[in-house]
């Protein structure tokens, strides 16, 4: 009996392990409540979602220094912050990479990059890599738009053209923010984009 039980448990664990790694499963889905976090910002402070008491929502972007797809979006991230922070949608960037694997993504290098690009938004390090798996981020950049109750309303790309801002035909994230601000459902609620895989030893 005991062996049967052990067998069943290991089978179900195996199954759980597989489902957790398959595709974008295992993380947050549209309608889920996003977990809060307390992570170190490049300015030395600790930032949490709960710090923003009057927020209408949150633009959480898993980001980093080294990835060319992120670099292509840095100016657009600055613009998004300028445009939406005052409307109650703060932008929060989180670097999920293990700095030991990617020295360019160390906390010190994050500080340098934030200064170079003049980031006015928090740029946090997911120290110990505990936050990105809860969100189900798989790449950088990877956007999660939350509403004021921290409910996930949009997951995906900032817009539909990473190469060239001029060539953008659909501003997925901005459209989603407008929808949330009006109490509507973003459409599309999920988009995909090419990005750099998150670097982890786990």
């Amino acid at each position: 009996m005991k062996t049967v039980l052990t067998f069943l448990i290991s089978i179900s664990l195996l199954f759980a392990a597989f489902t957790a790694t398959a595709g974008d499963g295992g993380g947050l889905k549209i309608g889920d409540v996003a977990p809060d976090f307390s992570l170190k910002n490049v300015d030395g402070t600790i930032v949490s979602l709960s710090d923003y008491e009057d927020a209408n929502g949150f633009i959480v972007i898993f980001s980093c220094n080294h990835c060319p797809f992120v670099v292509a979006y840095e100016d657009r991230m600055n613009d998004l912050h300028d445009q939406y922070a005052t409307k109650g949608f703060p932008l929060i960037a989180i670097n999920p990479n293990d700095p030991e694997l990617v020295p360019a993504d160390s906390f010190e290098k994050m500080r340098e990059r934030a200064a170079e690009k003049g980031f006015q938004f928090p740029y946090l390090l997911d120290e110990g890599q505990t936050v990105y798996p809860q969100y189900g981020a798989t790449r950088t950049p990877h956007v999660f738009l939350l509403d004021s109750d921290k409910v996930v309303r949009y997951i995906g790309a900032i817009d539909d053209n990473y190469q060239d801002e001029e060539g953008v035909t659909e501003k997925f994230l901005e459209n989603a923010i407008s929808a949330v601000a009006k109490g509507e459902t973003p459409d599309p609620a999920v988009t995909r984009a090419i990005g750099c895989t998150i670097k982890t030893r786990k």
Partner: protein
């Protein structure tokens, strides 16, 4: 080299009269016609393009080439990568080794680069030469990734490296890094004929 020849040709054409020009161009065309035939004579089993050749395509152009000729029952392994993507560069030698080992059993290797077009000459082409990449190499220059990622696989979130194996109507997709030729052999064996 091609650029150099083109330049020499232009200079040469400026120096000669019209009739000679016509004869020259005719002979050039003849040469172009003959050379691939001659090239294949001593090397009949190898149909791979010359190392260093990269075709720039959008997704509509790439899609039919990802798993062509489903009726011929050959196996295609397609790797999506970029020269700046560290895990991609690290896994590439395993793909090259796999291809060398199984090409006679009908395995084709297709490498799809997501490098930026402006880095084609400065990064991608030198990289392909340096790593002696014997494969069909494409630069997928199509920024509207939300449109084409699901056409490659419904399971792809968009992170690279990513790999597709296909054989006729059968295909399997992997959003992961491969660490050995053994791991790759495990995924292609079910596709190869006995």
């Amino acid at each position: 080299m091609v650029r150099f020849l083109r330049l020499v040709t232009i200079i040469f054409l400026q120096k000669i009269n019209a009739l000679e020009k016509l004869l020259f161009l005719l002979s050039c065309n003849l040469l172009l016609f003959i050379s691939p035939v001659m090239g294949s004579m001593g090397n009949s089993s190898n149909t791979a393009p010359p190392i260093g050749e990269v075709k720039v395509v959008n997704f509509d152009e790439l899609e039919p080439l990802l798993c062509p000729n489903p009726e011929d029952n050959e196996v295609y392994i397609v790797n999506f990568f970029a020269t700046w993507c560290k895990p991609c560069v690290e896994e590439l030698p395993h793909f090259l080794e796999l291809h060398r080992k199984y090409k006679d059993e009908g395995l084709h290797f297709v490498l799809v680069s997501l490098d930026f077009l402006r880095q084609l000459d400065s990064r991608l082409i030198p990289f392909i030469g340096e790593h002696q990449v014997e494969a069909e190499v494409f630069l997928l220059n199509d920024p509207y990734a939300n449109e084409w990622i699901p056409k490659v696989s419904g399971d792809w979130t968009g992170a690279i490296p990513a790999t597709l194996v296909c054989n006729g109507d059968k295909s399997e997709f992997f959003e992961k890094t491969f660490h050995s030729i053994g791991e790759l052999e495990d995924i292609i064996k079910p596709f190869l004929k006995d």
